[in-house]
Point group: C2
Protein backbone atom coordinates (compact mmCIF):
# COMPACT_ATOMS: atom_id res chain seq x y z
CA UNK A 1 0.00 0.00 0.00
CA UNK A 2 2.91 2.26 0.68
CA UNK A 3 3.99 1.53 -2.83
CA UNK A 4 0.51 2.17 -4.19
CA UNK A 5 0.46 5.53 -2.48
CA UNK A 6 3.88 6.08 -3.88
CA UNK A 7 2.64 5.21 -7.36
CA UNK A 8 -0.28 7.58 -7.03
CA UNK A 9 1.96 10.32 -5.80
CA UNK A 10 4.35 9.71 -8.63
CA UNK A 11 1.61 10.23 -11.20
CA UNK A 12 2.23 13.86 -11.88
CA UNK A 13 -0.46 16.38 -11.14
CA UNK A 14 -1.96 18.14 -14.12
CA UNK A 15 -4.68 20.67 -14.62
CA UNK A 16 -6.89 17.93 -15.92
CA UNK A 17 -6.31 15.63 -12.96
CA UNK A 18 -6.96 18.51 -10.59
CA UNK A 19 -10.23 19.43 -12.28
CA UNK A 20 -11.48 15.85 -12.39
CA UNK A 21 -10.64 15.30 -8.76
CA UNK A 22 -12.43 18.51 -7.88
CA UNK A 23 -15.56 17.44 -9.75
CA UNK A 24 -15.46 14.04 -8.08
CA UNK A 25 -15.07 15.60 -4.66
CA UNK A 26 -17.94 18.02 -5.22
CA UNK A 27 -20.11 15.19 -6.55
CA UNK A 28 -19.68 12.96 -3.57
CA UNK A 29 -19.10 15.31 -0.67
CA UNK A 30 -20.98 18.40 -1.77
CA UNK A 31 -19.68 21.70 -3.06
CA UNK A 32 -19.41 23.16 0.42
CA UNK A 33 -16.65 20.73 1.27
CA UNK A 34 -14.63 21.49 -1.81
CA UNK A 35 -11.75 23.43 -0.32
CA UNK A 36 -8.29 23.72 -1.73
CA UNK A 37 -7.08 21.86 1.32
CA UNK A 38 -9.51 18.94 0.99
CA UNK A 39 -8.86 18.71 -2.70
CA UNK A 40 -5.12 18.65 -2.17
CA UNK A 41 -5.51 15.90 0.40
CA UNK A 42 -7.56 13.80 -2.02
CA UNK A 43 -4.72 14.16 -4.50
CA UNK A 44 -2.09 13.27 -1.93
CA UNK A 45 -0.44 16.61 -2.24
CA UNK A 46 0.06 19.79 -0.29
CA UNK A 47 -2.50 22.59 -0.87
CA UNK A 48 -0.13 25.03 -2.52
CA UNK A 49 0.74 22.46 -5.16
CA UNK A 50 -2.64 23.06 -6.76
CA UNK A 51 -1.71 26.63 -7.55
CA UNK A 52 0.82 25.40 -10.07
CA UNK A 53 -2.15 24.19 -12.14
CA UNK A 54 -5.00 26.58 -11.43
CA UNK A 55 -4.63 30.27 -10.74
CA UNK A 56 -7.04 30.34 -7.80
CA UNK A 57 -10.26 28.83 -6.57
CA UNK A 58 -12.48 30.80 -8.92
CA UNK A 59 -10.56 29.54 -11.89
CA UNK A 60 -10.86 26.05 -10.47
CA UNK A 61 -14.64 26.43 -10.41
CA UNK A 62 -14.66 27.69 -13.98
CA UNK A 63 -12.63 24.68 -14.99
CA UNK A 64 -15.01 22.33 -13.22
CA UNK A 65 -17.95 23.89 -15.02
CA UNK A 66 -16.21 23.35 -18.31
CA UNK A 67 -15.63 19.72 -17.44
CA UNK A 68 -19.30 19.02 -16.77
CA UNK A 69 -20.64 21.12 -19.63
CA UNK A 70 -18.18 19.31 -21.85
CA UNK A 71 -19.94 16.07 -20.95
CA UNK A 72 -23.07 17.17 -22.77
CA UNK A 73 -23.27 15.32 -26.07
CA UNK A 74 -23.52 16.91 -29.49
CA UNK A 75 -26.98 17.50 -30.93
CA UNK A 76 -28.31 15.44 -33.81
CA UNK A 77 -27.70 17.30 -37.00
CA UNK A 78 -30.38 17.64 -39.60
CA UNK A 79 -33.31 17.07 -37.27
CA UNK A 80 -36.09 19.61 -36.97
CA UNK A 81 -35.08 22.39 -34.66
CA UNK A 82 -37.77 21.65 -32.11
CA UNK A 83 -37.06 18.01 -31.31
CA UNK A 84 -33.36 18.70 -31.70
CA UNK A 85 -33.35 21.48 -29.15
CA UNK A 86 -35.68 19.59 -26.87
CA UNK A 87 -33.55 16.49 -26.91
CA UNK A 88 -30.37 18.41 -26.38
CA UNK A 89 -31.73 20.26 -23.40
CA UNK A 90 -33.03 17.09 -21.83
CA UNK A 91 -29.67 15.46 -22.24
CA UNK A 92 -28.02 18.49 -20.70
CA UNK A 93 -30.37 18.01 -17.81
CA UNK A 94 -29.29 14.42 -17.47
CA UNK A 95 -25.66 15.45 -17.23
CA UNK A 96 -26.28 18.23 -14.74
CA UNK A 97 -28.24 15.91 -12.53
CA UNK A 98 -25.13 13.88 -12.03
CA UNK A 99 -23.49 17.02 -10.67
CA UNK A 100 -26.00 18.61 -8.32
CA UNK A 101 -23.62 21.39 -7.35
CA UNK A 102 -23.21 22.58 -10.92
CA UNK A 103 -26.30 24.78 -11.37
CA UNK A 104 -25.50 26.94 -8.38
CA UNK A 105 -21.86 27.08 -9.38
CA UNK A 106 -22.74 28.09 -12.92
CA UNK A 107 -25.08 30.79 -11.73
CA UNK A 108 -22.63 32.31 -9.35
CA UNK A 109 -19.71 32.54 -11.76
CA UNK A 110 -19.10 35.21 -14.36
CA UNK A 111 -19.30 32.59 -16.95
CA UNK A 112 -17.96 33.05 -20.36
CA UNK A 113 -16.13 29.76 -20.11
CA UNK A 114 -15.29 28.12 -23.44
CA UNK A 115 -17.35 24.95 -23.03
CA UNK A 116 -20.45 26.93 -22.11
CA UNK A 117 -19.99 29.25 -25.06
CA UNK A 118 -19.53 26.26 -27.34
CA UNK A 119 -22.69 24.70 -26.01
CA UNK A 120 -24.74 27.87 -26.42
CA UNK A 121 -23.32 28.38 -29.87
CA UNK A 122 -24.47 24.92 -30.90
CA UNK A 123 -27.99 25.51 -29.60
CA UNK A 124 -28.23 28.83 -31.39
CA UNK A 125 -26.88 27.14 -34.50
CA UNK A 126 -29.73 24.64 -34.39
CA UNK A 127 -32.26 27.45 -34.18
CA UNK A 128 -30.67 29.41 -37.02
CA UNK A 129 -30.61 26.28 -39.18
CA UNK A 130 -34.31 25.96 -38.43
CA UNK A 131 -34.87 29.35 -40.00
CA UNK A 132 -34.90 31.58 -36.92
CA UNK A 133 -33.88 35.18 -37.35
CA UNK A 134 -30.91 36.35 -35.34
CA UNK A 135 -33.29 38.44 -33.36
CA UNK A 136 -35.75 35.75 -32.46
CA UNK A 137 -32.95 33.31 -31.67
CA UNK A 138 -31.53 35.91 -29.31
CA UNK A 139 -34.73 36.41 -27.40
CA UNK A 140 -35.41 32.71 -27.30
CA UNK A 141 -32.09 32.10 -25.62
CA UNK A 142 -32.94 34.69 -23.00
CA UNK A 143 -36.39 33.24 -22.49
CA UNK A 144 -34.93 29.81 -21.91
CA UNK A 145 -32.52 31.23 -19.39
CA UNK A 146 -30.79 28.57 -17.42
CA UNK A 147 -33.26 25.99 -18.63
CA UNK A 148 -31.22 25.75 -21.77
CA UNK A 149 -28.53 24.14 -19.65
CA UNK A 150 -30.95 21.65 -18.18
CA UNK A 151 -31.89 23.18 -14.88
CA UNK A 152 -34.58 25.52 -13.91
CA UNK A 153 -33.95 27.04 -10.51
CA UNK A 154 -37.09 25.71 -9.06
CA UNK A 155 -37.20 27.76 -5.89
CA UNK A 156 -37.97 24.64 -3.94
CA UNK A 157 -35.78 21.71 -4.86
CA UNK A 158 -34.50 21.02 -1.41
CA UNK A 159 -32.01 18.49 -2.68
CA UNK A 160 -29.69 20.51 -4.78
CA UNK A 161 -29.19 23.28 -2.24
CA UNK A 162 -26.17 23.26 -0.03
CA UNK A 163 -24.59 20.83 -2.40
CA UNK A 164 -25.26 17.72 -0.36
CA UNK A 165 -25.34 14.77 -2.65
CA UNK A 166 -25.77 12.24 0.11
CA UNK A 167 -29.35 11.98 -1.07
CA UNK A 168 -30.92 11.88 2.33
CA UNK A 169 -33.65 9.77 0.76
CA UNK A 170 -36.37 11.96 -0.71
CA UNK A 171 -37.90 12.74 2.65
CA UNK A 172 -41.47 11.68 3.39
CA UNK A 173 -44.00 14.05 1.78
CA UNK A 174 -43.68 15.93 5.03
CA UNK A 175 -46.99 17.77 4.70
CA UNK A 176 -46.29 21.17 6.15
CA UNK A 177 -47.28 21.60 9.81
CA UNK A 178 -50.96 22.52 10.19
CA UNK A 179 -50.44 26.00 11.61
CA UNK A 180 -48.36 26.85 8.55
CA UNK A 181 -50.94 25.29 6.26
CA UNK A 182 -53.59 27.50 7.79
CA UNK A 183 -51.57 30.59 7.10
CA UNK A 184 -50.88 29.74 3.47
CA UNK A 185 -53.97 27.89 2.29
CA UNK A 186 -53.16 27.88 -1.40
CA UNK A 187 -49.66 26.58 -0.92
CA UNK A 188 -51.06 23.92 1.38
CA UNK A 189 -53.67 22.89 -1.12
CA UNK A 190 -51.05 22.29 -3.75
CA UNK A 191 -48.70 20.53 -1.39
CA UNK A 192 -51.47 18.24 -0.30
CA UNK A 193 -52.62 17.40 -3.80
CA UNK A 194 -49.07 16.72 -4.87
CA UNK A 195 -48.37 14.42 -1.97
CA UNK A 196 -51.35 12.05 -2.08
CA UNK A 197 -51.21 12.13 -5.84
CA UNK A 198 -49.39 9.10 -7.05
CA UNK A 199 -46.40 9.29 -4.83
CA UNK A 200 -45.12 6.27 -6.68
CA UNK A 201 -43.86 8.59 -9.31
CA UNK A 202 -40.64 9.45 -7.62
CA UNK A 203 -41.22 8.68 -3.99
CA UNK A 204 -41.58 12.36 -3.34
CA UNK A 205 -44.42 14.80 -3.66
CA UNK A 206 -43.92 15.95 -7.20
CA UNK A 207 -42.18 14.81 -10.27
CA UNK A 208 -39.27 17.08 -11.11
CA UNK A 209 -38.83 15.64 -14.55
CA UNK A 210 -42.49 16.21 -15.37
CA UNK A 211 -42.33 19.79 -14.16
CA UNK A 212 -39.22 20.44 -16.18
CA UNK A 213 -40.70 19.10 -19.38
CA UNK A 214 -43.97 20.90 -18.74
CA UNK A 215 -42.20 24.24 -18.63
CA UNK A 216 -39.88 23.36 -21.48
CA UNK A 217 -42.74 22.40 -23.77
CA UNK A 218 -44.71 25.45 -22.77
CA UNK A 219 -41.80 27.54 -23.95
CA UNK A 220 -41.06 25.50 -27.06
CA UNK A 221 -44.70 25.60 -28.13
CA UNK A 222 -44.87 29.32 -27.65
CA UNK A 223 -41.63 29.76 -29.53
CA UNK A 224 -42.85 27.60 -32.38
CA UNK A 225 -45.95 29.72 -32.69
CA UNK A 226 -43.93 32.93 -32.84
CA UNK A 227 -41.61 31.37 -35.38
CA UNK A 228 -44.44 30.21 -37.63
CA UNK A 229 -45.95 33.65 -37.56
CA UNK A 230 -42.69 35.19 -38.64
CA UNK A 231 -42.28 37.15 -35.42
CA UNK A 232 -40.00 40.13 -35.67
CA UNK A 233 -38.87 42.31 -32.84
CA UNK A 234 -40.94 45.46 -32.48
CA UNK A 235 -38.73 48.27 -33.74
CA UNK A 236 -38.79 50.96 -31.18
CA UNK A 237 -39.50 54.38 -32.69
CA UNK A 238 -36.19 56.27 -32.62
Amino acid sequence: MAEQAETLRRTPLSRDRVLRAAVALADEAGIESLSMRNLAQDLGVVPMALYKHVANKDELLDGMIDVVVGEIGAPEVGADWKPAVRQRILSAREVLQRHPWAPLAIESRNMATPAVLAYLDAVIGTLRAGGFSVDLAHHVMHAMGSRVLGFSQELFDADRRAGRSGRTEPAPPAALPPEVAAMFPHVAEIAMAASHDDASVLGQGCDDQFEFEFALDLLLDGIERLHERGWASPRRPH
Copy 2:
Protein backbone atom coordinates in the same frame (compact mmCIF):
# COMPACT_ATOMS: atom_id res chain seq x y z
CA MET B 1 -19.71 63.47 17.71
CA ALA B 2 -18.73 61.40 20.67
CA GLU B 3 -22.18 62.03 22.00
CA GLN B 4 -23.77 61.15 18.67
CA ALA B 5 -21.89 57.90 18.64
CA GLU B 6 -23.03 57.43 22.15
CA THR B 7 -26.63 58.06 21.13
CA LEU B 8 -26.36 55.58 18.31
CA ARG B 9 -24.82 53.03 20.58
CA ARG B 10 -27.53 53.61 23.11
CA THR B 11 -30.22 52.81 20.56
CA PRO B 12 -30.60 49.19 21.42
CA LEU B 13 -29.89 46.59 18.81
CA SER B 14 -32.84 44.54 17.64
CA ARG B 15 -33.40 41.82 15.13
CA ASP B 16 -35.05 44.33 12.88
CA ARG B 17 -32.22 46.84 13.07
CA VAL B 18 -29.72 44.07 12.38
CA LEU B 19 -31.60 42.85 9.33
CA ARG B 20 -32.06 46.31 7.87
CA ALA B 21 -28.41 47.14 8.37
CA ALA B 22 -27.46 43.87 6.70
CA VAL B 23 -29.66 44.62 3.68
CA ALA B 24 -28.22 48.11 3.43
CA LEU B 25 -24.68 46.80 3.63
CA ALA B 26 -25.30 44.16 0.97
CA ASP B 27 -26.99 46.74 -1.24
CA GLU B 28 -24.15 49.17 -1.22
CA ALA B 29 -21.06 47.07 -0.73
CA GLY B 30 -22.08 43.79 -2.33
CA ILE B 31 -23.03 40.52 -0.74
CA GLU B 32 -19.45 39.30 -0.67
CA SER B 33 -18.54 41.95 1.84
CA LEU B 34 -21.38 41.16 4.16
CA SER B 35 -19.53 39.51 7.02
CA MET B 36 -20.64 39.40 10.61
CA ARG B 37 -17.63 41.53 11.44
CA ASN B 38 -18.37 44.23 8.87
CA LEU B 39 -22.01 44.28 9.81
CA ALA B 40 -21.18 44.63 13.50
CA GLN B 41 -18.85 47.50 12.72
CA ASP B 42 -21.58 49.29 10.76
CA LEU B 43 -23.78 48.97 13.82
CA GLY B 44 -21.06 50.20 16.16
CA VAL B 45 -21.01 46.96 18.03
CA VAL B 46 -18.79 43.96 18.56
CA PRO B 47 -19.39 40.98 16.22
CA MET B 48 -20.66 38.60 18.86
CA ALA B 49 -23.41 41.03 19.81
CA LEU B 50 -25.23 40.10 16.63
CA TYR B 51 -25.68 36.56 17.83
CA LYS B 52 -28.07 37.76 20.48
CA HIS B 53 -30.46 38.65 17.67
CA VAL B 54 -29.84 36.14 14.90
CA ALA B 55 -28.86 32.54 15.44
CA ASN B 56 -26.14 32.50 12.81
CA LYS B 57 -25.28 33.86 9.40
CA ASP B 58 -27.66 31.59 7.51
CA GLU B 59 -30.56 32.79 9.60
CA LEU B 60 -29.39 36.32 8.96
CA LEU B 61 -29.62 35.70 5.21
CA ASP B 62 -33.09 34.21 5.58
CA GLY B 63 -34.15 37.28 7.49
CA MET B 64 -32.72 39.57 4.83
CA ILE B 65 -34.64 37.69 2.15
CA ASP B 66 -37.82 38.14 4.13
CA VAL B 67 -37.16 41.85 4.39
CA VAL B 68 -36.82 42.35 0.65
CA VAL B 69 -39.63 39.97 -0.31
CA GLY B 70 -41.79 41.80 2.20
CA GLU B 71 -41.24 44.96 0.18
CA ILE B 72 -43.22 43.52 -2.73
CA GLY B 73 -46.66 45.11 -2.76
CA ALA B 74 -49.95 43.27 -2.63
CA PRO B 75 -51.66 42.38 -5.91
CA GLU B 76 -54.75 44.12 -7.10
CA VAL B 77 -57.74 42.10 -6.14
CA GLY B 78 -60.52 41.44 -8.56
CA ALA B 79 -58.50 41.95 -11.70
CA ASP B 80 -58.23 39.25 -14.33
CA TRP B 81 -55.64 36.69 -13.33
CA LYS B 82 -53.39 37.41 -16.27
CA PRO B 83 -52.80 41.14 -15.87
CA ALA B 84 -52.84 40.69 -12.10
CA VAL B 85 -50.10 38.09 -12.13
CA ARG B 86 -48.16 39.95 -14.77
CA GLN B 87 -48.23 43.18 -12.86
CA ARG B 88 -47.32 41.54 -9.60
CA ILE B 89 -44.35 39.79 -11.10
CA LEU B 90 -43.11 42.96 -12.72
CA SER B 91 -43.36 44.79 -9.45
CA ALA B 92 -41.47 42.00 -7.74
CA ARG B 93 -38.82 42.50 -10.36
CA GLU B 94 -38.64 46.17 -9.53
CA VAL B 95 -38.04 45.41 -5.89
CA LEU B 96 -35.44 42.76 -6.52
CA GLN B 97 -33.56 45.08 -8.81
CA ARG B 98 -32.93 47.35 -5.89
CA HIS B 99 -31.23 44.43 -4.16
CA PRO B 100 -29.00 42.82 -6.76
CA TRP B 101 -27.64 40.29 -4.29
CA ALA B 102 -31.08 38.90 -3.51
CA PRO B 103 -31.61 36.46 -6.39
CA LEU B 104 -28.43 34.55 -5.71
CA ALA B 105 -29.12 34.61 -2.00
CA ILE B 106 -32.64 33.31 -2.51
CA GLU B 107 -31.46 30.54 -4.76
CA SER B 108 -28.79 29.35 -2.45
CA ARG B 109 -30.93 29.17 0.68
CA ASN B 110 -33.29 26.41 1.66
CA MET B 111 -36.06 28.84 1.51
CA ALA B 112 -39.30 28.23 3.17
CA THR B 113 -39.14 31.65 4.76
CA PRO B 114 -42.51 33.14 5.77
CA ALA B 115 -42.50 36.16 3.48
CA VAL B 116 -41.68 34.04 0.45
CA LEU B 117 -44.42 31.58 1.31
CA ALA B 118 -46.86 34.42 1.76
CA TYR B 119 -45.89 35.84 -1.60
CA LEU B 120 -46.24 32.52 -3.40
CA ASP B 121 -49.53 31.90 -1.65
CA ALA B 122 -50.88 35.18 -2.94
CA VAL B 123 -49.84 34.43 -6.50
CA ILE B 124 -51.40 30.98 -6.37
CA GLY B 125 -54.49 32.57 -4.88
CA THR B 126 -54.79 34.86 -7.88
CA LEU B 127 -54.59 31.90 -10.23
CA ARG B 128 -57.14 29.88 -8.28
CA ALA B 129 -59.50 32.84 -8.24
CA GLY B 130 -59.10 32.95 -12.00
CA GLY B 131 -60.46 29.44 -12.21
CA PHE B 132 -57.24 27.42 -12.35
CA SER B 133 -57.33 23.86 -11.07
CA VAL B 134 -55.00 23.05 -8.19
CA ASP B 135 -53.07 20.91 -10.60
CA LEU B 136 -52.58 23.49 -13.29
CA ALA B 137 -51.73 26.17 -10.75
CA HIS B 138 -49.10 23.85 -9.37
CA HIS B 139 -47.42 23.24 -12.69
CA VAL B 140 -47.65 26.88 -13.61
CA MET B 141 -45.73 27.84 -10.50
CA HIS B 142 -43.03 25.38 -11.40
CA ALA B 143 -42.91 26.62 -14.96
CA MET B 144 -42.45 30.17 -13.79
CA GLY B 145 -39.64 29.08 -11.51
CA SER B 146 -37.73 31.98 -10.12
CA ARG B 147 -39.30 34.31 -12.64
CA VAL B 148 -42.29 34.51 -10.38
CA LEU B 149 -40.08 36.43 -7.99
CA GLY B 150 -38.97 38.81 -10.66
CA PHE B 151 -35.65 37.44 -11.76
CA SER B 152 -34.74 34.97 -14.37
CA GLN B 153 -31.20 33.77 -13.94
CA GLU B 154 -30.09 34.96 -17.27
CA LEU B 155 -26.82 33.10 -17.53
CA PHE B 156 -25.17 36.29 -18.67
CA ASP B 157 -26.13 39.29 -16.63
CA ALA B 158 -22.64 40.29 -15.69
CA ASP B 159 -23.90 42.91 -13.27
CA ARG B 160 -25.66 40.91 -10.67
CA ARG B 161 -22.89 38.38 -10.18
CA ALA B 162 -20.44 38.78 -7.38
CA GLY B 163 -22.84 41.15 -5.74
CA ARG B 164 -21.12 44.33 -6.78
CA SER B 165 -23.60 47.11 -6.85
CA GLY B 166 -21.07 49.77 -7.74
CA ARG B 167 -22.59 49.69 -11.18
CA THR B 168 -19.36 49.93 -13.10
CA GLU B 169 -21.31 51.70 -15.81
CA PRO B 170 -22.80 49.21 -18.22
CA ALA B 171 -19.51 48.59 -19.99
CA PRO B 172 -19.13 49.41 -23.66
CA PRO B 173 -20.72 46.74 -25.86
CA ALA B 174 -17.31 45.14 -25.68
CA ALA B 175 -17.77 43.06 -28.84
CA LEU B 176 -16.05 39.80 -28.05
CA PRO B 177 -12.46 39.53 -29.29
CA PRO B 178 -12.33 38.40 -32.92
CA GLU B 179 -10.63 35.05 -32.31
CA VAL B 180 -13.45 34.15 -29.92
CA ALA B 181 -16.04 35.37 -32.38
CA ALA B 182 -14.57 33.09 -35.01
CA MET B 183 -14.88 30.11 -32.74
CA PHE B 184 -18.49 30.78 -31.79
CA PRO B 185 -20.04 32.32 -34.88
CA HIS B 186 -23.65 32.14 -33.77
CA VAL B 187 -22.98 33.71 -30.42
CA ALA B 188 -20.98 36.40 -32.18
CA GLU B 189 -23.77 37.07 -34.62
CA ILE B 190 -26.21 37.69 -31.83
CA ALA B 191 -23.79 39.77 -29.81
CA MET B 192 -23.09 41.91 -32.81
CA ALA B 193 -26.73 42.44 -33.70
CA ALA B 194 -27.56 43.29 -30.12
CA SER B 195 -24.77 45.81 -29.85
CA HIS B 196 -25.30 47.92 -32.98
CA ASP B 197 -29.03 47.58 -32.52
CA ASP B 198 -30.28 50.70 -30.87
CA ALA B 199 -27.84 50.90 -28.05
CA SER B 200 -29.82 53.88 -26.85
CA VAL B 201 -32.15 51.48 -25.23
CA LEU B 202 -30.15 50.99 -22.10
CA GLY B 203 -26.65 51.93 -23.03
CA GLN B 204 -25.74 48.28 -23.19
CA GLY B 205 -26.16 45.61 -25.79
CA CYS B 206 -29.53 44.28 -24.89
CA ASP B 207 -32.54 45.34 -22.97
CA ASP B 208 -32.98 43.26 -19.84
CA GLN B 209 -36.45 44.49 -19.23
CA PHE B 210 -37.52 43.60 -22.74
CA GLU B 211 -36.05 40.12 -22.44
CA PHE B 212 -37.75 39.57 -19.14
CA GLU B 213 -41.15 40.58 -20.44
CA PHE B 214 -40.64 38.61 -23.62
CA ALA B 215 -40.15 35.42 -21.65
CA LEU B 216 -42.87 36.27 -19.17
CA ASP B 217 -45.43 36.87 -21.88
CA LEU B 218 -44.38 33.76 -23.73
CA LEU B 219 -45.18 31.80 -20.60
CA LEU B 220 -48.35 33.68 -19.73
CA ASP B 221 -49.70 33.25 -23.25
CA GLY B 222 -48.97 29.55 -23.20
CA ILE B 223 -50.55 29.23 -19.80
CA GLU B 224 -53.63 31.10 -20.93
CA ARG B 225 -54.05 28.74 -23.82
CA LEU B 226 -53.81 25.69 -21.58
CA HIS B 227 -56.25 27.23 -19.18
CA GLU B 228 -58.79 28.04 -21.87
CA ARG B 229 -58.60 24.50 -23.15
CA GLY B 230 -59.29 23.12 -19.70
CA TRP B 231 -55.92 21.42 -19.44
CA ALA B 232 -55.77 18.59 -16.96
CA SER B 233 -52.70 16.68 -15.95
CA PRO B 234 -52.29 13.43 -17.83
CA ARG B 235 -53.17 10.69 -15.37
CA ARG B 236 -50.43 8.16 -15.50
CA PRO B 237 -51.78 4.63 -15.81
CA HIS B 238 -51.27 3.01 -12.43
